[in-house]
Amino acid sequence: MAAVATGPVAVVTDASPAVLSLGDSARADAESSSLAPALNADPGATPQTPAASVPAVLARGLVKQFGARRGLDGVDLTLPAGAFLSIFGPNGAGKTTLLSILSLLSRPTRGSLALLGVDALEEPEALRARIGLISHRSMLYGDLTARENLAFFSSLYTGEPDEQRIDELLRLVELDHRRNDLVRTFSRGMQQRLSIARALVNDPALVLLDEPYSGLDPHAAELLDELIERVRPGRTLVMVSHDLAKGFDLCTHALILARSQVVAFVEKDTVDAAAFRDLYLATVGTGVA
């Protein structure tokens, strides 16, 4: 791997599989290639309360093959609990594929993955109850009301709808007054807010966001910013975004994917927005993907 450090910014010039955790590379090395430390770190920790020392995401050598094409090519990732990771990259870089694997909707062809201290490939059922996904698609039924949608998804997790939590979530996303209205009558912004409530119905410890700002007007995007800030405490968030400025502003860690590989991974404290933009352009903007 040819990594060129330029002040607080690291640039990987050959797009080889790499994880650069600036300012804390020693920790990344220590966590190296085995899932064992994460899985054994706190065997007594319940799924809802992972020990702080257990990484929320620990991926090693993730490969996803689509026929002859490789969607992901040896992705390594270590993300501490409570972090907010923004994933950037050009179209086709593998961002959505990575998010699909992290959400357990898709299995990697090779590699290992632990989420919240649990082996995601061995025990996906145990993990699904602790993961939420907010996508640019609402995953809501237009012909059901806001409350019916949340009640339905709540039932899949707990058997009976958790009415108290549904009420709380509708208030959180400021849709309490529209609870009995059909979702197809909602604006795109309102649907996205309800989609956040849907993703939180199981009180997930890991929340994945797939281009959540897509198609939102500035006001709706502002509301979404507020909501994300409100749901952030106590959770680990991973967001795929094309908006470099917004994504970097929200995150604690940032990852750049290109040609299905990680070309840079930085902690936000170690780099400012301008330097990160330069890093992005250096790794991606030169036509890497």
């Binding site: 809802q48 699904r128 609402s138 995953m139 809501l140 012909d143 059901l144 997790y157």
Partner: protein, 236 residues
Amino acid sequence: MEPHRASGFAQYRALLMKDIRQELRTREMLTSMVVYAVMVLTIYGAALAQVGDTVQVTAFAGGLLWALIIFTSLLGLNRSFAHETESGCLEGILLAPVERPVVFLAKATSNLIFLVAVELLAVPLFFLLFLSGAELASSVPMIILPLAVGTVGVAGVGTLLSTMVIDTRGRDVLLAILFIPVAFPLLYACVSATTIAFMGVEGTFDAFWTACAVAGAYDVIMVAAAWGLYEFVVSA
């Protein structure tokens, strides 16, 4: 503390009730199937009106009835996943800790309910229009048996295949292309059993029970296969 997990039955019930509530609200699937069935019956009526009493309708009524049922079912099966794909709702379901076969069972059950609802209208109408004057050999239960066994198989196999074509271009055509060959043994058995039930030629009732047994075995095998394969199908 581990949060309370929903049982498979509770999830099945939630999925099924969601489908029924949605259909009762929109009536998209039922309306399209009923309109199509009535249209087919009208065409049958126009065709048979030309031949008057010169042909014995009971000889091919089994085939006509199953053609009506199959093509009406295909129309409904194509619609059954429309709501799931429009806003990525199927992904929302798959994110939850739901065993994939439970998703299949719930969707197959809702499809079965909607098919039976349409048959409750279309089949009596078929009898009224084309077989009201005919002397049928069998009792009502013997006519209903192949219909019931066949409808279960159509709902089961149709649900599996409609999941497989969910993200394909031209899925309406693809479902029909896949469904007819895969369901051929079932359709052949059901048409045979229904025709025997109508005609009741001496010495053919053994063949009736054999056809029903073949259709029943097909149901068991295909529904079991669909149960086992569904995880793979929805993950692919």
